[in-house]
């Protein structure tokens, strides 16, 4: 059951979006987020919607899959919409008891919900189309200049990729420990919240012990394979920017400029 968790939610593929340099994709997503916050009119939202639709269709990831990412946050979106409807002052449309619904409130609610939904969908496109390893490599290279001010960029990236590497192993281990405890009569499914939490303790203790032991052994194995930090390290797969990356940058700049212009004219 735990094995069903797909981490990083990466969907392998061989589309233009998949083949983009991870650095490009990270930058594009950042630009997209900025643009989403600048956009505040029908025209700019329409433009951003076109961008999002284009990215999704190019990546050949099913719309239903992308929308699934929004599902866990539906509650947050609902609350945002609710607050916007009732707490925006403006031309009153309906009034009852202490509540007032204004025209501006309705517009705000729609825009805010749409903004959150589109932000989630857009950022999910990054993890859907980029393998965790490539994402780590991309982040490491993008943050590279920060090494000058002594930010341990390589170490952070190594920690991230180690965590990604160990997650499936630890999930498997948890499964095993749970089975072992169940075989000895442990009950994880009944009782109230506190009882359930208490039942988890016999899983967490051995899991932690084994995680530490694994980490120790892994460190020894890494050392015996000549690991000595990021200094002088080379890469099997070197990231290279190609034509499609530059085209994406140009398009992103154009969209951002478009959104800013639209906002400037109050459209």
């Amino acid at each position: 059951m735990l094995k069903d968790i797909t981490l990083g939610q990466y969907f392998p593929g061989d589309t233009v979006v998949h083949r983009l340099d991870p650095r490009t994709k990270i930058v594009l997503v950042l630009v997209y987020i900025v643009a989403m916050f600048i956009a505040e009119s029908f025209a700019s939202y329409a433009l951003m919607l076109v961008v999002l639709a284009l990215a999704i269709s190019l990546s050949r990831i099913r719309l239903a899959t992308v929308l699934k990412g929004v599902k866990p946050l539906i509650f947050v979106i609902a609350i945002t919409a609710f607050l916007n409807i009732f707490y925006t002052s403006g031309r009153v449309l309906v009034e009852f008891w202490i509540f007032k619904i204004t025209e501006e409130g309705i517009f705000n609610a729609i825009f805010m919900s749409l903004r959150i939904i589109m932000l989630i969908m857009g950022t999910f496109m990054l993890t859907y189309t980029t393998s965790p390893i490539m994402l780590t490599v991309g982040i490491e290279q993008l943050l590279g200049p920060l090494k000058v001010i002594k930010v341990p960029v390589h170490e952070l990236a190594m920690m991230m990729s180690m965590a990604l590497r160990l997650i499936p192993t630890l999930i498997e281990e948890t499964d095993k420990i749970m089975s072992a405890q169940k075989a000895r009569g442990a009950d994880f499914d009944t009782g109230n919240l506190i009882q359930k939490a208490k039942a988890l303790l016999p899983i967490l203790v051995p899991l932690f012990i084994s995680a530490f032991r694994r980490a120790d052994e892994l460190a020894v194995a890494m050392e015996s394979r000549c690991y000595h930090g990021g200094e002088g390290r080379t890469r099997l797969n070197v990231l290279t920017m190609s034509g499609r990356d530059y085209i994406s940058f140009a398009s992103a700049a154009a969209v951002l400029a478009g959104v800013i212009t639209l906002a400037h004219f109050g459209l």
Binding site: S131, P132, I133, S161, M162, L164, R165, P168, T169, E172, R214, E217, L218, V220, A221, M222, E223, S224, R225, C226, Y227, H228, G232, R233, T234, R235, L236, N237, V238
Partner: protein
């Protein structure tokens, strides 16, 4: 110089607690050994005999508390030689899950040459070569955690091969594997030894594996108690029994027959040899 690993009066103990209680016995006590280049040496011993501790001295994972260890003429205490020692003396551990560092097989194999600063095209060549040697080339883009134990261990061996080592120390590499995985690993060891001329040090519990070596070293309580060709070591059945070690089943059979009064040589180690000896006697 034809010596790969040399230990002289190697002594090691784990840290004593702060009360200064010195009664903790040495894990290794005055071990002096020479392992020749290109040979296949098996180290046997029950748990706590010091065999893994000895192995960890060979690539400077542990440094001697007394005596010296040299790998290809380099003193392991010399920190400036550390990377070179570890490159030339690779190490494969028991649990394949705890030595794989990446989510993709080929990236894992590339880990060591990446650390050594090898240029990208050369890393590619070495990774492909190492994966072909262990027969895992078709799996190069797979996720390691979805492979079987034996396959994972082969990936781990490829990861060491990518450093282009001259000596590989295997620390109970088959202990967690099923019989087919065990056979695959032993085949690779055989191949490395005879086709590449790699020096192999194999630490193991399995007598059948040790029987394939050129030389068997038996350890007990931090001492080397036996050292010789497999045939010379395994005929000492009673001593091995006392140390809590078993002997290969062929030797056991011949030993029991001898005890029952049938005069047979004990050194027919392989199944074929054993069968021949029995056939000659009774046939």
């Amino acid at each position: 110089m034809d010596i790969a690993i040399k230990t002289e009066n190697l002594t090691y103990f784990y840290n004593v607690d702060e009360t200064g209680d010195q009664d903790i016995p040495d894990v290794l006590d005055n071990v002096s050994l020479e392992i020749k280049k290109g040979t296949f040496v098996a180290i046997l011993g029950h748990n706590g005999s010091g065999k893994s501790t000895l192995a960890k001295h060979m690539n400077a994972l542990l440094l001697p508390k007394g005596g010296t260890v040299t790998a290809f003429g380099m003193d392991t205490k010399d920190e400036s030689l550390l990377l070179e020692i570890r490159r030339r003396v690779g190490m494969v551990f028991q649990n394949p899950d705890n030595q794989i560092v990446s989510n993709v097989v080929e990236e894992d194999v590339a880990f060591a040459p990446e650390n050594l600063g090898v240029a990208s095209p050369e890393i590619r060549r070495r990774v492909d070569d190492a994966l072909k040697t262990v027969g895992m080339y078709e799996f190069r883009n797979h996720a390691p955690h979805l492979l079987s134990g034996g396959q994972k261990q082969r990936v781990a061996i490829a990861g060491v091969l990518a450093m282009d080592p001259e000596c590989i120390v295997f620390d109970e590499p088959t202990a967690m594997l099923d019989p087919s995985g065990r056979r695959d690993v032993m085949e690779i060891i055989h191949k490395l030894r005879y086709e590449r001329g790699t020096t192999v040090v194999l630490i193991t519990h399995h007598m059948e594996e040790a029987a394939l070596a050129d030389r068997v070293i038996v350890m007990s309580d931090g001492h080397v108690v036996m050292d010789g060709k497999p045939k010379e070591v395994f005929v000492r059945v009673e001593e091995l029994d006392e140390l809590g070690l078993t002997v290969p089943e062929t030797t056991r059979l011949l030993f029991e027959l001898k005890n029952a009064g049938v005069d047979l040589p004990l050194d027919a180690l392989s199944i074929d040899e054993c069968a021949k000896v029995l056939a000659d006697k009774f046939g």
